[in-house]
């Protein structure tokens, strides 16, 4: 168990208490809590992509931003023309990105490491969909522009992906421990974290489940890694300076999201809030995942 799993566990116990008292948490409270956590941890963990990349590569800021924003723009176009393909592509890059961050401590040398990272992420996302299939379908059917995504979430391959990826992943972790004579504690920690993920995805609604994973096991871990790396590059860095570093792009993102939110509410932007959330997360994830691959390398 690491500190992130401990924080995760504390929140799970707290949720147990809330659920015992209330029976459930209504969707408004779920969204508000998710929004606050995303604003404080989720968005900031990708807010210094520029700093991370430019600390390793000599490139003019303008060129960096042009490339970064072009990637986002191209992906937005893809969403317009090929929504189902874009959704599947989003799952693929998210899978890779989550797996890479989760397994970053292992320093894999294998040429199949990218496959292993993707496998971990596929197991995570298929588990999320598998346990919350009906909730996702209801959510998709609620808006006219997301009805078509329902076919993706109820596709029979979800079951195969869920069972297949989890079995292969656990077998791989056990074999790796056996072959590399790794400390059994690493294996136990990894299996415990998988168990916690399965437990929460099974017990709690999809918004709570994903937010818990995304904030406590992903964003907090990445933020710590980013801080530790930058501390090596800039020894004068402290927590306060790190927060200041995170602020500009976090605020820009929040303002951007707020403007679009107003646009959707006033029907100036003709898409549903759900579709907008999926698109905005995916288009931010793509360049972030590329930068993070470079960061971990």
């Amino acid at each position: 168990m690491n500190r992130y799993s401990f924080a995760y566990l504390v929140i799970v116990y707290l949720l147990f208490a809330i659920y015992t008292l209330n029976g459930e948490i209504d969707i408004d409270h779920q969204l508000k809590a998710a929004l606050v956590l995303m604003s404080f941890f989720g968005i900031p963990h990708g807010a210094i992509d520029n700093v991370l990349f430019l600390s390793k590569h000599k490139m003019p800021q303008l060129k960096f931003y042009s490339l970064y924003l072009s990637t986002i723009a191209i992906y937005c176009c893809c969403w317009y023309f090929f929504p189902i393909f874009s959704l599947l592509f989003f799952f693929l890059i998210s899978s890779y990105h989550f797996g890479e961050s989760q397994l970053s401590d292992y320093a894999f040398q294998s040429r199949f490491k990218k496959v292993i990272y993707t496998l971990w992420g596929v197991s995570l996302l298929s588990t999320l969909v598998f346990y919350n299939q009906s909730e996702l379908l209801i959510l998709c059917q609620e808006f006219t522009d997301t009805v078509k995504f329902g076919h993706v979430f109820e596709h029979p391959s979800i079951d195969y992906l869920f069972y297949g990826s989890n079995v292969i992943l656990i077998t791989f972790l056990c074999l790796k421990k056996y072959r590399d004579k790794h400390n059994i504690q690493d294996l136990l920690s990894e299996l415990f974290q998988l168990f916690l993920i399965h437990l929460t995805f099974y017990l709690f609604p999809i918004i709570i489940s994903f937010t818990l994973y995304f904030i406590f096991l992903h964003s907090m871990k990445v933020l710590t890694q980013e801080y530790n790396y930058l501390k090596q590059v800039r020894p004068e860095l402290n927590l306060k300076k790190f927060i200041v570093l995170l602020l500009p792009h976090t605020l820009i993102s929040l303002i951007f999201l707020f403007v679009f939110y107003i646009g959707i509410q006033t029907q100036v932007v003709p898409i549903s809030l759900f579709l907008f959330s999926v698109i905005s997360i995916s288009v931010i994830t793509l360049p972030h995942a590329i930068i993070m691959t470079n960061f971990y390398d």
Partner: protein
Amino acid sequence: MLLNIIEPIAPDNYVAFTFFTGYIAMLAASVFFFVERGSVSPKWKMSLLVSALITGIAAVHYYYMRDYNLATGDSPTFFRYVDWILTVPLMCVEFYLLTKLAGAKKSLLWKLILASTWMLVCGYIGEAFNPGGGGAAAHSVTWGILSTLGYLYILYNVWFGEVAQLAAKSNSDTIKQGVRYLGWFVLVGWAIYPIGYMCMDGGWLSSLMTPESVDVWYNIADAINKIGFGLVVYSIAIAETKKEMA
């Protein structure tokens, strides 16, 4: 006990089965740890004595719980908490004894004992003095949260706090690894108790397990946690004794 007052036991009475096996296993473990005190160096004798006490105290309680359950068919909540309130602080004493060589102070011992006692007293109030009716959930949740605070304190201390730091400082891989194994007992093995707590009438997980199933799981978990805990301490003591003699 006279044969004519022995209660008949149905073959599918798993609660009675696990009470009996739990009792005998705890007793056997207690004898084992006590006898094996002679095989370890003097500085490890206290650790094995504490292990023997943990399983010995549990064996006596299991003897009573077994009869109580057979006679009434009820869950022996009272005896369980009496057992836990004696044995869980003793498990915490094991952490102190293991890290004492690396400089653990008495304050650590008292912090762990207080946290474990707090955890159990709050759990007992939440479970045994539940007023029922409308206030039942609020009562059990309030005391459940208070009890969980004690548990999380111990968990944090063992994994990241003073105990973990002292183990890391100990210059002994056996102790480092042993403390980590004991940490797994606290993390996974002890997790059955809050789950059991949430399975009581009106609890969030009450649909998951019947009171009988909770008793079976408690019995299995108790045996694994107490005997397993003792065996880890025993293996550390033996390994360290061998090192000293080499």
